[in-house]
């Protein structure tokens, strides 16, 4: 095994389809930190996961010298702080950091729940409501992108930063959702031109391109997941 240059022992418990898991993977790539990717089996949770994240029992979990760090955005901040010599992920200005944290929280608390809502909706009405919410969110994020990027490629400026990772990790699912919902446009050349350009640049970034799955693969996986969610709802 190649020497990880005194980075210590780094493992990531996760799964390839999870956008939350993609976040620390991208962050570790940005910092050029090698890690062992321990993939969970779909439908079951390993003893290591349950031991490392007993509170939430969820992925991702970063294990750094066997110490667990949980919650994807918290893991990304940890990675940024520990491997501070590498390219920085959070901005250096305190206000910019607050803005970055604000939008990362927005993606998780306001935007993402509608992805789930749209994909697993039990009625046409519920699905349309979720899609409307997503579109509103996209408009807000477009505004944020224009304001924060200040004409550069990324929310983080010339290179990928915290918001790029938080939202960009959603792109594979976003593209899959557009297909699964029969061509609904969330990334829209007319309404979200900035985000369209950003999405292409983000996806092509060296730290990202091997992490973001192909849309087709997510669509296949989504079918499994939606079936699981619906089965759980039916039996509860």
């Amino acid at each position: 095994m190649a020497n990880n240059n005194n980075n210590g022992d780094v493992k990531l418990i996760g799964a390839w389809p999870s956008p939350f898991v993609m976040r620390p993977r991208i962050a570790l790539n940005i910092k050029s930190v090698e890690y062992e990717f321990l993939q969970e089996q779909f439908g079951s949770k390993s003893d290591l996961l349950l031991k490392s994240n007993p509170v939430h029992k969820k992925i991702p979990v970063l294990l750094h010298n066997d110490k667990p760090i949980c919650e994807s955005n918290i893991i990304v901040e940890y990675i940024d702080e520990v491997w501070s010599a590498g390219p920085s992920i959070l901005p250096s200005d305190a206000h910019d950091r607050a803005v970055a944290r604000f939008w990362a929280a927005y993606v998780d608390e306001k935007w993402f729940p509608n992805v789930r809502g749209a994909a697993a909706a039990s009625s046409e009405e519920a699905k349309n409501a979720a899609v409307d919410q997503l579109k509103e969110g996209m408009a807000l994020l477009e505004g944020a992108y224009v304001e924060i990027s200040k004409g550069k490629d990324f929310f983080g400026g010339e290179k990928i930063g915290f918001i790029d990772i938080a939202f960009g990790s959603m792109l594979a699912w976003l593209r899959a959702l557009q297909v699964m919902l029969g061509g609904v446009k969330l990334l829209d050349e007319e309404k979200t031109p900035g985000l369209c350009k950003w999405a292409a640049k983000f996806s092509a970034d060296p730290a990202v391109k091997d992490v973001l799955p192909e849309t087709e693969k997510i669509i296949e996986f989504a079918k499994l997941l939606v079936a699981k969610i619906k089965a759980a709802a039916a039996s509860s």
Binding site: I69, C70, A105
Partner: protein, 240 residues
Amino acid sequence: MATAREPEEDEEEEVKLIKTWSSPYALRAVWALKLKGIPYESIDEDLTHKSDILLHHNPVHKKVPVLLHHGRSICESLVIIEYIEETWSQNPPRLLPQDPLQRAETRFWAKFVDDKALPAIWQAFSKEGKEQEQGLSETAEHLRLLEAELKKKKKRLFFGGEEIGIVDIALGWMVNLVPLFERILGVKILDEEHHPALLKWRQRMSDVDVVKENWPPRDKLVAKWTAIRERCVGKAAANE
């Protein structure tokens, strides 16, 4: 440690906090500012008639608290606390640890309070029947985890260690609102058998000057939350 400032800086330093008299989230920001000794101007909102200044500075959520510093806005209470910590890092107490692993753990628990503990207690407070039972049992589970976390380090006075930190601030609502909820709902949420450490912590929090001196007026709080409960379970109409 004296912080000598140029006169011009004093004017530019102006800190404002948009809040309401009762918001537990806004109270977090009040405590963080006062603990660090940062002077600020309060802008009190009436959320039934949101001001232009609030809508301008928090267009996404339109909520309090909003911190204004050098005219720029910071929203979301936990984000505000991290901003305060980073901007006035030379003012004690330290609201987050310096060690990255401990910081990650601290952030984890602060997020736990907002993602899990608060929604559960809100469900217990705002619902009836089975939904309330579920809220109460989830609350019990979350409190069990917080109790265990507090007990992990011996001689730990607060979640932040020897002094208040961000998790203590995030849990501040447990100090005044939980007894209030217990009274209104007629159920016990914290008890000596299951939560000895949390109860001692609660007492210590109440004794902190900044906390003691900044509670919203108790009678108003009782009236407000009683009215909320009545609205939630539709009793208000029956009582008229």
